[in-house]
């Protein structure tokens, strides 16, 4: 069990940069629930079966601070809890203990395309998804041409998305996400999108954002990409933070097992 620090009011000193993300003694449990309806819960109770859900600790006492403009890779094997960490930062999940604080606008390249509706046209989907990511109409109007140009599907923008190929779909979805107004970018295994030239274009775009001083948190298995984009790595193993430091050393820690 973690002990929640009482000292969040005075976070550790930062030399030159202001922090963007503060993760303070965070714990996340998942309940593996056995019942998903009143009926199951009731029958379980009558039969005297254990209705209480089993607990599974996804993250245990994780703390770090990411400063403005830093690019940080979160590494770990499947099931280590790294994607959970990203979801906690994005606000989709809430920690069971500890605190997470963020500063500025946050956007996630997490499962882009979640808000796409197959029956709507590409244009309508761009507006809908950009709005889901927190943009206002004027901002979207301003960026619409860039979004479409980046996705390279100008000719099909007024067709219904259900007629798109999966590659076109992902390109448009990624393009919307990357063009949102943001200070913090969360990237989760997204660069498996599209063909090689489009992947390269995405990398270049992410590099460009990093160059503009955006804060970035990247979850990936691609070591080459992490070395290229990040300067710092945090290694999570079975929910525990085992390393936090330069990205090259973090990759070594990962490989040691």
């Amino acid at each position: 069990m973690t002990n929640v620090s009482e000292t969040t009011e005075s976070t550790p000193a930062v030399a030159e940069n202001k922090p963007s993300i503060i993760v303070d003694h965070v714990r996340k449990d998942f309940l593996l629930r056995k019942s998903h309806s009143f009926k199951e819960a009731f029958i379980g109770w009558i039969r005297g079966k254990e209705v209480k859900a089993k607990k599974f600790q996804a993250l245990d006492d994780v703390s770090f601070i990411i400063n403005e403009g830093e690019s940080v890779a979160i590494m770990g094997y499947n099931g280590s809890g790294k994607s959970t960490m990203l979801k906690l930062i994005s606000g989709v999940l809430e920690p069971d203990a500890g605190k997470i604080l963020i500063r500025g606008r946050l956007a996630g390249l997490i499962e882009v395309g979640a808000g796409f509706h197959p029956e709507l046209s590409g244009r309508e989907n761009v507006y809908l998804n950009a709005a889901i990511l927190g943009m206002q109409k004027e901002e979207i109007d301003k960026r619409f041409d860039d979004i479409v140009a980046f996705s390279e599907i100008e000719a099909f923008i007024d067709q219904e998305v259900k007629h798109y190929s999966s590659g076109m779909f992902m390109r448009l979805a990624f393009s919307v996400a990357i063009h949102t107004e943001l200070d913090i970018l969360l990237v989760d295994e997204i660069l498996s999108v599209g063909d090689a030239p489009f992947k390269e274009k995405c990398r270049a775009k992410i590099r460009e954002l990093a160059g503009q001083g955006k804060t970035m948190v990247i979850v990936s298995h691609d070591q080459r990409m992490m070395k290229e984009l990040c300067d710092r790595g945090i290694v999570i193993k079975k929910g525990k933070q085992v390393y936090d430091g330069p990205v090259a050393d973090a990759i070594e820690v990962m490989q040691q097992k």
Partner: protein, 294 residues
């Protein structure tokens, strides 16, 4: 050593509840539009379905209640009386059930991206309201043909009725919508409530038939039920003016409106607001677990 000013920071995933609607109004508009645009896609009749269902309902009720049970004898312009009640109850039933399903229907989004989740039930209620408009338009045309003229008090009654229904549906919808994430069979309660909402309001009969049978305290409870209050307001706004006209020309007798129409409306509205606050509170409590339970 410097310490960081935490005032600029916020906790991700915490919204301001239904008040977030104002900041996210553009997204809300798009969500509503998405709902109305895709509602009847790929169906033969398209938006015609919006008329078929209430028309069929109206036909059945009219034959059974009006002709077989002979209610049209006591209620002048029974057809108008019936239809104005039905559109109100339909508005409630639809917005309530859509709001309840709104979170599970949008699970792809709720699981992956944070946005104020209250937007979904609110969009559902607004969508149901848009769906209510063509039915209300038919009612209005019929009433106009019968010589309905707007009066300030009548219009006020109509607006207050719609507000009461929308607030009640949103509150209950948020409550059961949140519950529905953890327990998928919470939807069954919704169907039960819908049966009650159809039969426990003076739509298929009149308020004074209840007053005759029920003890006074029970009758008072019955009348401040937000839906009953709303239906009586709607009757006051739509049906009563034309019924009075019809009586004046054809003769006959018109039963009086309920004694405390506006008091009941006030209490009904207050109860609706309590539903809304309770719904929001439960919603917030369950919201933390939406992403993992879906």
């Amino acid at each position: 050593m410097t310490t960081v000013d935490l005032s600029e920071f916020r906790t991700p995933g915490r919204g301001r509840g239904i008040l977030d609607v104002f900041r996210w109004h553009y997204l809300l508009r798009l969500l509503v539009r998405k709902g109305t645009q895709t509602r009847y896609r790929n169906s033969a009749l398209g938006w015609g379905w919006s008329y078929v269902k209430p028309a069929a309902q109206f036909g059945v009720y009219y034959v059974v209640m009006g002709i077989i049970l002979e209610l049209h004898r006591n209620i002048p312009l029974f057809a108008v009386y019936l239809f104005s009640g039905i559109v109100m109850v339909n508005f409630f039933n639809e917005s309530f059930s859509n709001a309840t399903k709104s979170i599970t229907d949008n699970r792809a989004l709720v699981k992956k991206i944070y946005l104020p989740r209250e937007l979904f039930p609110i969009a559902a209620v607004i969508g149901a309201f848009i769906h209510f408009l063509p039915q209300a338009a038919i009612l209005l045309v019929v009433c106009l043909l019968m010589g309905w003229t707007p009066s300030l008090i009548g219009l006020a009654a109509i607006v207050v009725a719609i507000v009461i229904v929308a607030v009640t549906a949103l509150g209950l919808g948020m409550f059961f919508g949140a519950l529905n994430v953890a327990y998928r069979d919470a939807q069954n309660f919704v169907e039960i409530i819908q049966v009650f909402s159809t039969w426990s309001v003076p739509v298929l009969y009149t308020w004074h038939m209840v007053a005759d049978k029920a003890p006074e305290w029970l009758f008072n409870i019955y009348m401040v039920n937000p839906l009953a209050a709303a239906v009586e307001l709607f009757h006051r706004g739509m049906w009563r003016p034309v019924a009075e006209r019809a009586i004046a020309t054809d003769g006959g007798e018109l039963f009086a409106g309920p004694a405390n129409l506006w008091l009941n409306a006030g209490i009904g509205l207050a109860i609706a607001v309590v539903f809304l606050l309770a719904g929001q509170a439960v919603f917030r409590r369950f919201e933390r677990r939406f992403a993992q339970d879906l």
